[in-house]
Point group: C2
Chain length 198, copies 2
Amino acid sequence: MARRGRRPLGGPDTREAILSAARELFADRGYQATTMRAVGARAGVDPALIHHYFGTKDGLLQAALVLPVDPVELLAGVAADPARTGEQVVLRILRLWDDPAVQHRMVGLLRVGLSHPHTVDVLRDMLGRTVLVALVGHAAPDSAPLRAALVGSQIGGLLLGRYLVGVPPLAQASVDELAAAVGPTVQRYLTEPLDLPP
Amino acid sequence: MARRGRRPLGGPDTREAILSAARELFADRGYQATTMRAVGARAGVDPALIHHYFGTKDGLLQAALVLPVDPVELLAGVAADPARTGEQVVLRILRLWDDPAVQHRMVGLLRVGLSHPHTVDVLRDMLGRTVLVALVGHAAPDSAPLRAALVGSQIGGLLLGRYLVGVPPLAQASVDELAAAVGPTVQRYLTEPLDLPP
């Protein structure tokens, strides 16, 4: 629903209101059909202010796809008990996503990111600079980029299945059950031999 | 681009042209903004014919999200060598998706399915009736639905990462490398103890 009246210029609230409106509209109408004018109307701000903060529509998209939490910080210290690194990675990510506010924002972010070839490019670059960098930091040096991407494939599929699609066994399992089931997968991808063909 | 002229009534070509147009429009504009009239225009058929074949817009969506291959058939015999069931599951699915025509259709199907709360419901029901049923048929009896869903989460994340998002290490790896890396994960989810907490 569009907010009535105009917000005062400037301030972090205005910026966040614009981003929240942009995420909703990109998700509902698609990236191409969303105009700066429509984002301004939904956020209750003059479209000129959106240009002031974010430049182009692409700048607005980039800002809308910023993660709410830094993955490097989220995963700091997961290898304190090296045999349980995988379990810790799964636990920390699922505990974060079980927070309804984080979940709402991340589901919206994924919906926007997967919706259009251009938003997919922005999503892939963002994941490469953030999530994959954080995971490479905990991966064995041989094939570290592949190891990080394999972890990303498992965790990404789990998050989509549990929170976006709502596949019943994944949505109904406890965080501890999923950490026990998926932790060894992440552990193997990060630290154990992958036995790739020559 | 809209095709010029009208197709002759009836025939599987007409039905497939309607479905193909519907998948394109649902993916580009979203489910809500897509009208039967627009699908008819793109397919070069009278909208009344769409109603004749598919009933409502929801019926058209259901038909647009039908898988091009039956997963039960695709996975028949994967347990011929029981120690390599996981590897066979990954190999068969990736070989199928590496076919450009299948890949194009499946990427479009996922894009449509993930785009809107209603299309997500239809996607989840379809996956439950097809992919998860096929996987449960190869899972150990304890926690079989969870095992199938875990496999789905890993394979789904791999397919999204390789084909839809194009994460470089996943997109550039060979099918054999991915089967070696991911096969043991699928094997464990299907057949080995999950060590769930009590």
